[in-house]
Amino acid sequence: MSSRPTRTIGYAILTALAAVWIIPLIWMFSLALSDNDALARDTTNLLPVQATTDNFVTLLESGRTPGWLFNSVVVTVATTVFTLILSAMAGYAFARIPFKGKRIAFPLVLAGLMVPKEAMFIPLFLIFADFEQHNTYHALVLPRIAAPLGVFIMTQFFSEIPGEFEEAAVIDGASRWTIFRRIMLPMSVPALTALGIFTFVQTWNDYLWPLVSATDPDMFTITTGLASRQGNFAQASALGDLMAQGVFASAPLLILFFIFQRQVIRGISMGSGSK
C-alpha cells in the first residue's frame, strides 16, 4: 500500500516507540532483582546489579506485603466471580425472558453506564459508613459487582444467539434454568472470559475506592498498599524492595494478559466498540 521508504521510516519510529514502552518495565524488574546496597550507588542499569532475589524473600517473610496480596486476591476473585454470575443471569433475563418492568429496568442499567464511578465515591462511602461496614471485604467487593457494562455486554451477546437453539430445547421439555445452564452458558464462554479478565484487571487495580473504604493498613490491597509506601521518595534506601513490591503488584496481571491477550483485546472491542 505505501512506498518502501515510508514503510522503513514507519518501522524505525515504531521500534523506537516500542523501546520507550518496554524500557520502564524492564527497569522495574531489573531494580527488583538488584542488591539494595548496589542500588545505593547506581540505579541506571537495565540489567540487575549483583543479581539477587533477596528483595522478594524479604517482602514475603516480613511486613504486610503477603497480607496485602492476600486481600487483593480475595477481593479480585470474589468480585470477578460474582460479576460474571450476575451479568450472565441479568443479561440472559434482559435478552430472553419477557418480564414485568423490563422496559424500566433496562434503561436504568444503561443509565448506570453513564454514571462516572469516580464522581460518586462520597455517597458510596456514606452508604457503607451508615452500616459501619468499612474495612471489610464485602465493602470492597459489593460496589464493584454492580457492573452495568457487564450486564450490557451479556445482554448484547445473548440477543445475538439465534432463537432456534432454545426452541429445540423447549420442545425437548427443558426448563428455562436448564436452557440457561446447558445451552446458553457454554455458548457464552468466550464473552464471559473476556468480561472476567477485564473485571479482574479493573478490580485488582482499583485505587480510589479501596483508599476510601479500607483505611486500616491490614485491609489495604496491594494497589493501595504500594501507593501508601510512596509518600516519601527521598528515602530511596530500599529501592529494590519497593520495586519488588511493584513486581508483585503487576506480575499477576502481566501474566494473565500475556496468556489471554486475544480475549482481552476482543473484550475491549466488545465492551466499548459495540455501543
Partner: protein, 337 residues
C-alpha cells in the same frame, strides 16, 4: 436491584447530601442547610465582573460558536441544540468566567475553581494527545504481520498495570538523580530536569506518563475500527490516483467517525476522573499546579471532614461530565441519526 443500590442510589444520595451539612467525625448528626454548600462552592465575597478577565481563554471558548453554526448549516445539528450551545457558550465564557474576586474580595472556597481548572487543563491537554497518538500508532500498526502483533501487545501492556505501579516506575524514572531520564540527559551534556517539581512542567509530565499508561487501549479500539473499513475502497482510490493523504482524508476518517467519537468521549470522561497519578506523585503540587477536582473532593471529605460539601462538589463534577458527553454525542453523531 444491586444496580439501583450501588449506582443510581448514590447519585440521588449525592444530590440530597449536597443540601446538608454532615461531619465525617460525627456521622449521625446532619443538618439541612439548603443551597449553602453550593454557595460555598461557587461564590465568594466581593466578586466583581470584568470583560477582560482571562480574555484569551474566553475568546477561544466563544469561537466555539463558529463550528456549531457551520454544523447547523450543514444540517448536522438541530436548531434547538444550536441555540442551547450558543447560550451555553455565551453564559460560560462570556459571563461566568468574567466573575472574579475584586479588590479585597475572595472565593468562599479558594481551592474549588483552581482544582476544577487544573482538571480542565488536564482534559484539554491529554485528550487530543492520547487520542491523536493512539490513532497514529494504530495507523502505523494496521498491517498484517507477526511483528505488528508483538508491538500491539507491547503498547497495550502498561494498561494492565495499576496506578500505583505506574507512579512507582515513573517517580524514579523521572527523578533527576536516580532516574534513567536524568542519566540520559547528563549523557548528552544537559542538566537533568526536575519534571515533577517545576510548576510549568508538572502537568505536561503527568499527561506524558498517562499517555504511556493508557494509549494502548485507544490503539486497540482504533485497530478494531480500521479493520471494519473495506480494503477494496483503498484499492479503488489508488487506481483513481488518490495519494496517501487523500485516502486518509476521504476513506479512513469517514470510516472511523464512530470509533473516533466513541474514543474521544471515553477519553474525556476518563480524563475528568484523573486522580491517582497526581495524588500519589505530586499530592497536587508543586504549589497546587496539579491539584485536581477529585483530590479536592477527597480532601474536603476525609481531611476536612465535610461530607455534605464533598457530595455537592461530586454532583457538580457529575453534571459537567454527563453534559460534556451528551454534547459530544449530539455534535459529532448528528448525521448518523
Amino acid at each position: 436491584m444491586v444496580y439501583l443500590i450501588f449506582i443510581l442510589y448514590p447519585v440521588i444520595q449525592a444530590v440530597w447530601m449536597g443540601f446538608y451539612e454532615r461531619d465525617l467525625l460525627s456521622l449521625d448528626r446532619q443538618e439541612f442547610i439548603g443551597v449553602d454548600n453550593y454557595v460555598e462552592m461557587f461564590w465568594g465575597d466581593g466578586l466583581v465582573w470584568k470583560a477582560g478577565t482571562m480574555w484569551p481563554w474566553r475568546i477561544i471558548g466563544l469561537l466555539g460558536i463558529i463550528p456549531a453554526v457551520v454544523a447547523f448549516r450543514r444540517g448536522r445539528l438541530r436548531a434547538g441544540s444550536l441555540v442551547a450551545i450558543i447560550i451555553g457558550l455565551i453564559a460560560v465564557f462570556g459571563v461566568i468566567m468574567g466573575i472574579h474576586p475584586g479588590e479585597g474580595g475572595r472565593w468562599n472556597d479558594s481551592q474549588f475553581w483552581p482544582s476544577f481548572g487544573n482538571t480542565l487543563v488536564f482534559v484539554i491537554m491529554s485528550t487530543p494527545v492520547i487520542v491523536g497518538v493512539g490513532l497514529a500508532m494504530a495507523l502505523a500498526l494496521n498491517r498484517p504481520g507477526r511483528l505488528v502483533g508483538v508491538l500491539r501487545t507491547l503498547f497495550f501492556a502498561p494498561y494492565v498495570l495499576s496506578v500505583s505501579v505506574l507512579t512507582l516506575i515513573w517517580a524514579f524514572l523521572l527523578s533527576p538523580q536516580l532516574g534513567l531520564i536524568g542519566a540520559f540527559w547528563r549523557s548528552i551534556g544537559l542538566e537533568p530536569v526536575s519534571w515533577l517539581t517545576d510548576p510549568s512542567l508538572a502537568m505536561p509530565t503527568i499527561v506524558a506518563l498517562t499517555l504511556w499508561w493508557t494509549v494502548g487501549f485507544n490503539v486497540v479500539l482504533f485497530l478494531a475500527g480500521l479493520q471494519d473499513i473495506d480494503e477494496s475502497q483503498y484499492e479503488a482510490a489508488s487506481l483513481d490516483g488518490a495519494n496517501g493523504w487523500q485516502r486518509f482524508r476521504h476513506i479512513t476518517v469517514p470510516g472511523l467517525r464512530r470509533t473516533l467519537l466513541l474514543i474521544t468521549v471515553l477519553q474525556i470522561i476518563a480524563s475528568f476522573q484523573i486522580f491517582g497519578q497526581v495524588f500519589i506523585l505530586t499530592r497536587g503540587g508543586p504549589n497546587g499546579a496539579t491539584r485536581v477536582s477529585i483530590q479536592h473532593i477527597y480532601e474536603a471529605a476525609f481531611r476536612d471532614a465535610q461530607l455534605g460539601y464533598a457530595s455537592a462538589m461530586s454532583v457538580f463534577l457529575f453534571v459537567v461530565m454527563v453534559g460534556v458527553s451528551a454534547l459530544q454525542f449530539n455534535f459529532m453523531g448528528g448525521d448518523n441519526r
